[in-house]
């Protein structure tokens, strides 16, 4: 069992504050670090993995500082975001080298085991440079878990993976968590985080915006007012039927666009309501488009609330 504690940690680069007074505790199980690009997720992971000193505050693993503490790598497995590896090595040689660098008693067996876990044995004798992004990700993963670490830190592990690889990695990470390991991964995609992590930490613009169970985060994100652009066979009739329900806060008939602008307050109720109301009123829906679904607007709502 390993616990990472971030205590009032800030990190600035010159005048730019990348991480601002963040405190969180990450224990066994899968934790998702969610935030838009540039929010400071990588900075946080670099601090947790000892590749960046906090400008103020502390980052500790089981009470020991991680920065300038090489012994902490006995417990930490790190899957960096960057692609660069030793491209001239084969997958097997790469993982084996990592096992040797850890000083494991039987590096060969450890490397074979790690490659088996990520199901990369079939390509272990090919050069890393010839791998696809998903394969590289898996070999990086094998190199990170070759010494059986109690903490696994992954920086944007799902980037560039196809859905099948994504599923496979999620299964793997769930398995590690079930073994009692502490798994932390970052992502800017809510659905991804939600599928895998029970516990979610949200970082926006360097600040710790929210923390908790994925349901709580989902609610925070979906409870905000949503705007939709709706086109139908009879806009006014649809508008009249929608406004009768409490999930709709306001409707504007936009003549120029030839559409309705609907503001919904209850996301789930509204999305269930709209098709039913349309059918009952005999109105055909032509377009239903969220008007402000960009991730940034979701996050900025979270920060302001």
């Amino acid at each position: 069992m390993a616990t990472i504690t971030i205590d009032k940690a800030s990190r600035w680069f010159g005048n730019v504050v990348a991480v601002n007074d963040v405190s969180m505790t990450i224990g066994p199980g899968v934790t998702g670090l969610l935030g838009p690009n540039g929010a400071g997720k990588s900075t946080l992971i670099h601090m947790m993995s000892g590749f960046l000193a906090p400008s103020s505050g502390a980052v500790t693993l089981d009470g020991e500082p991680v920065w300038r503490n090489q012994q902490s790598y006995r417990k930490i497995g790190l899957v960096p975001e960057r692609e660069a590896m030793y491209d001239f090595l084969t997958g097997m040689q790469f993982v084996l080298a990592n096992a040797e660098l850890h000083g494991l008693p039987d590096p060969g067996a450890a490397a074979r085991r790690a490659l088996a876990v990520v199901e990369m044995e079939y390509a272990q004798d090919r050069k890393v440079g010839t791998y696809s992004k998903g394969m590289k990700q898996r070999v990086k993963m094998a190199s990170a878990l070759v010494h059986d670490p109690s903490v696994l830190l992954l920086d944007e592990p799902f980037n560039g993976m196809d859905p099948r690889q994504r599923m496979h990695l999620m299964e793997l990470l769930r398995g590690f968590a079930a073994d009692g390991r502490t798994v932390l991964f970052s992502s800017h995609i809510l659905e991804e985080v939600e599928q895998l992590a029970r516990h979610i930490e949200v970082i926006v613009a360097g600040r710790h915006a929210a923390s908790g169970d994925f349901r709580k985060i989902r609610r925070l994100m979906t409870d905000r007012p949503h705007r939709y652009l709706v086109r139908s066979s009879d806009d006014r009739r649809l508008a009249a039927a929608l406004i009768a329900d409490p999930s709709t806060a306001g409707i504007e008939v936009d003549h120029a666009e030839g559409a309705l602008r609907v503001q919904a307050v209850d996301f789930y109720r509204f999305t269930a309501l709209l098709p039913r109301v349309a059918r009952d009123a005999g109105v055909r829906l032509r377009t239903v488009a969220p008007a402000d679904e960009s991730l940034e607007s979701v996050f900025s709502y979270l920060v302001s609330s």
Binding site: F13, A18, N37, G38, A39, G40, K41, S42, T43, H46, S49, G50, F51, L52, A53, W67, R68, Q70, Q71, S72, Y73, R74, I76, L78, P80, E81, R82, A84, M85, Y86, F88, L89, A97, N98, E100, L101, H102, G103, S143
Partner: protein, 238 residues
């Protein structure tokens, strides 16, 4: 020493096109030596000129630069150093191992070719070939340590290294005699003069000055590089 670090470093250094580059420079020197010997015959002044200016003055710093930065700066640049650093390995062992690889490269690609060039040009009369070989070896060690340190300190290690060897050692050293005291090349020459028969060669820096400075630079650069590597900060992607 760490065997795995050494193996990774050697493969990284000699792989890609850098290996060919490392080989091309000494091959050129040897070809040139054969040509000069064939056209001029064995001549003391020509040999000293070629060995001093071309071998010790140009080839050794150039190879030191390629090897010294090649063993670490490329890995820091592309970020693959993270796989070495995310391990419970003392940083000085990583630096020391990489330094030994760089020194090994400068022996094979600079010191030995310098000695061979001396043999071709003038034979080992007055121990000149051996002297320049040893001088190249000593200078190669210092350049390796110095340029390895540059690789840890800055993302522009090659530029900084070139500025040092071109501007400081060549240009400034040519016009300001005092600057030669702080020049790896001159320390190498001081050692060279000592190894050769008495009176065969001259140098601007005396051995009692050169040796302590060489030791200070090699040890200092290695210690400093280890400390800096332990606190290496990876540039954020954001």
């Amino acid at each position: 020493m760490n065997y795995t670090v050494a193996a990774l470093t050697v493969r990284g250094l000699l792989g890609r096109r850098r290996g060919l580059l490392l080989l091309a420079v000494p091959v050129l020197l040897l070809l040139l030596s054969v040509l000069i010997r064939a056209s001029v015959g064995p001549d003391h002044d020509t040999a000293v000129n070629v060995l001093g200016k071309l071998a010790l003055g140009t080839m050794v710093p150039l190879l030191g630069l390629i090897a010294g930065t090649g063993v670490i700066a490329t890995e820091i640049d592309d970020g693959s150093i993270i796989y070495l650093l995310a391990k419970p390995l003392p940083r000085y062992r990583i630096v020391l191992t990489k330094l030994l690889v760089a020194i090994g490269a400068s022996v094979v690609f600079a010191a030995v070719p310098t000695f061979l060039a001396g043999e071709i040009l003038y034979g080992n009369i007055e121990h000149i070939a051996l002297a320049y070989g040893v001088g190249a070896l000593v200078a190669g060690i210092a350049y390796s340590a110095l340029f390895l340190l540059f690789g840890v300190l800055t993302r522009h290690a090659v530029v900084v290294g070139l500025l040092y060897s071109l501007l400081w050692e060549s240009v400034v050293g040519n016009f300001v005699p005092g600057a030669r005291t702080l020049s790896v090349q001159q320390w190498g020459l001081a050692v060279t003069r000592k190894v050769a028969d008495a009176g065969a060669l001259t140098s601007d820096v005396h051995l009692p000055v050169a040796i302590p400075l060489l030791i200070v630079v090699v040890v200092g650069a290695t210690v400093f590089a280890s400390v800096k590597l332990a606190g290496l900060t990876l540039a954020g992607e954001e």
